[in-house]
């Protein structure tokens, strides 16, 4: 595949707790092309955040550890890199923004200094030059009077402003890949749209690829090219976004899509997927979704499905889908 930027193959990140081993990420595979936006969708605890931290090699260890798989970024094997080599990648070639803009900035340093820190580190800029560049980055993210705001402390800014600062910080070294972990979840809906638009705009300018981690299907529909749906540490479905919305193959994806409230239908109760996410310490032997799946058959509870290609660009892991069986 040409212009491939990132390839994650059979990634396994497990957490070794006193009670046992939690397979937070269990054999996840996906890829990302240059300039593309890939959404990783799933409920809390589906392993999407741990997947992104694994790419950055920032999984909290102990108890977490990457126990298997391969992550290839621009032709380089990230899992084979030393810690020092990884530091040259982080914040420089791959950067990340997080869900909580309120707590993701260091409260005791001015936002300008926090942006400049990356530039001094990776671009070998002088402090003064880096601060000027920080002002430019703030201007790019649409913060009014950036030359003043650069001297603000995080607590003097609103959540939306802080997320803009996080974006400025993440993009200041012009990374090839931006991982955005629920970047709009903590923001007001109006601000959400602005932030998403900003990310898309900057993506066009800088030709950055984006992995967008979210549980919000509305956000996926808005910005992503392709989507990967995760459940219990595994990919259950992968498809171009339009096709995913039009024709979801996995019962879990259908459940997610059905649980979006609609204005054009009058219903007494909102749809929801029955049951809860299973205990990751005691996953069922078959399909992890089987206990909650309305269509599950007997063999679903015994045999674990595998992610299988069913059409060009469409992969699904379900025994009920034709060609999707193991």
């Amino acid at each position: 595949m040409d212009n491939l930027l990132l390839n994650v193959e059979d990634l396994k990140t497990h957490f070794f707790l006193d009670d046992g081993v939690v397979p937070a990420v269990d054999g996840v595979s996906f890829h990302l092309r240059k300039g593309e936006t890939l959404a990783v969708v799933g409920e809390s605890g589906s392993g999407k955040s741990i997947t992104s931290l694994s790419i950055m090699r920032l999984v909290p260890a102990p108890p977490g550890r990457i126990v298997g798989g391969r992550i290839t970024f621009a032709g380089e094997d990230l899992l084979a890199k030393s810690e020092k080599e990884m530091r040259d990648v982080r914040g420089n070639r791959i950067s990340m923004i997080f869900q909580e803009p309120m707590t993701s900035l260091n409260p005791v340093y001015r936002v300008g200094d926090q942006i400049a820190e990356s530039l001094v580190l990776h671009k070998r800029m002088k402090k003064k030059e880096a601060l000027e560049q920080a002002v430019e980055m703030l201007r790019l993210t649409g913060i009014p009077s950036p030359e003043k705001r650069v001297r603000d402390f995080p607590h003097q800014m609103s959540g939306g402003m802080r997320q803009r600062v996080m974006i400025a910080m993440a993009l200041c070294c012009q990374p090839e890949l931006l991982i955005a972990d629920e970047p709009t979840t903590a923001l007001d809906v109006t601000i959400q749209a602005q932030i998403l638009e900003l990310m898309q705009e900057l993506q066009r300018q800088m030709n950055t690829s984006i992995i967008l981690i979210t549980h919000d299907l509305a956000v996926v529909a808005e910005v992503a090219d392709r989507a990967v749906v995760m459940y219990c540490g595994k990919v259950v479905e992968e498809a171009p976004v339009a096709e995913l919305f039009e024709n979801p193959l996995h019962p879990y994806t259908r459940g997610l899509l059905n649980s979006i409230p609609r204005l054009d239908e009058n219903v007494d109760r909102l749809f929801m997927i029955d049951g809860v996410v299973p205990n990751m310490l005691r996953l069922p032997p078959g399909c992890a979704f089987a206990p909650r799946c309305p269509e599950a058959r007997e063999h679903c509870r015994e045999t674990a499905p595998r992610l299988t290609r069913v059409a060009p660009g469409r992969l699904v892991s379900c025994l009920l889908v034709e060609g999707g069986a193991a």
Partner: protein, 334 residues
């Protein structure tokens, strides 16, 4: 900010008034007759009565209190019954020794305490962590006078490394500039005096530091552990910063904010004269002078020392409060 400072200084007035009242009353109610004390045991009852009248001791208590207070405001703390010298002169001649010891102790406590706390937090549950936390537990629970005595036994009497007591070898005192021997000997490049002063201060300062050091180490460890789990630490790592930079630039500064409170409080306590340490090591500071004064029922001296110590304590605390604004920009004074 300036308004806040003025407000805080004005607030000191009722605090110090309260302290003066309390000290005055306690001493008034519980000390033996000062007139009898001043005249000695061979004085007749008539002589004592005359002196009582002269000193105004027969006036109502509140009259005496306000007389005491108005003297106090004018800087008149009375005269020591033992030495007949003005109490304030006595205090000021002793204060530099106390300040020097307190600064040395806080310096040792902060440097060692913060370092141990940070390393323990970064290497949580390591052998170093266990040993240092056991050490900290010993530090808070060991009586200071016992620790001091044991140090004297070991380092002075057995090993002969360090002098037993005092501030400096006799005749070695440096030229008086600040009254702090270490400072003065550095300023005058008097290296012999500096060596003597350092050898004398190391044991009392370490003994005095032990408690604060342990408190600071435990406090630093727990706040570091908390800070290290914060989102902005993950942000710092995601930037590609080295772990040491993450720890010291991003985590430590945040973790130090509560630690500074503790250091400030300890500073206030130590500045007021470390009574036990100064006594054990015959350190010529306010603390040991206070003990002498109590033993001799020298009530003006006791009164003056306590009020002075209390004043130092509240002023140091005020300074620490103001320091926060610099450390934590989220704090706005108004």
């Amino acid at each position: 900010m300036l308004r806040y400072v003025i407000k805080r200084i004005l607030l000191l007035i009722p605090v110090l008034l309260g302290i003066s009242f309390f000290v005055f009353m306690v001493l008034h109610l519980f000390t033996t007759d000062p007139a009898a004390l001043m005249l000695g045991q061979h004085a007749t009852n008539e002589q004592v009565a005359a002196l009582r009248e002269e000193l105004g001791l027969n006036d109502p208590v509140w009259v005496q209190f306000f007389r005491f207070l108005s003297d106090l405001v004018q800087g008149d703390f009375g005269r020591s019954l033992m030495t007949r010298a003005p109490v304030l002169d006595e205090i000021f001649s002793r204060f530099p020794a106390t300040v020097e010891l307190a600064l040395a102790a806080i310096f040792i406590a902060a440097i060692v305490g913060i370092t141990v706390g940070v390393v323990s937090a970064v290497k949580q549950y390591s052998v170093f962590d266990y040993f240092s936390m056991i050490g900290a537990l010993l530090g808070v629970s060991m009586p200071i006078f016992w620790l001091g005595l044991m140090m004297i036994v070991l380092f002075s009497l057995k090993l002969h490394w360090l002098p037993v007591s005092g501030r400096i070898d006799i005749g070695m005192e440096p030229v008086h500039i600040t009254g702090l021997y270490i400072m003065d000997s550095i300023l005058t490049r008097d290296w012999e005096s500096l060596k003597s002063a350092l050898l004398h201060i190391i044991m009392p300062a370490t003994a005095l530091a032990s408690y604060s050091m342990a408190i600071i180490a435990r406090m630093t460890r727990s706040t570091m552990l908390e800070v290290i789990r914060q989102d902005y630490i993950r942000t710092a790592r995601a930037k590609g910063l080295k772990e040491t930079v993450v720890t010291y630039r991003h985590a430590l500064r945040n973790a130090l904010i509560p630690v500074i409170t503790v250091i400030g409080l300890q500073m206030g306590v130590l500045m007021g004269g470390a009574v036990l340490t100064e006594t054990v090591f015959s350190w010529p500071g306010i603390g040991s002078r206070l003990v002498d004064a109590i033993l001799a029922s020298d009530y003006p001296m006791v009164q003056g020392s306590i009020i002075f110590i209390a004043t130092v304590f509240v002023v140091v605390n005020l300074v620490v409060d103001l320091l926060y604004a610099w450390l934590d920009p989220r704090i706005k004074y108004s």
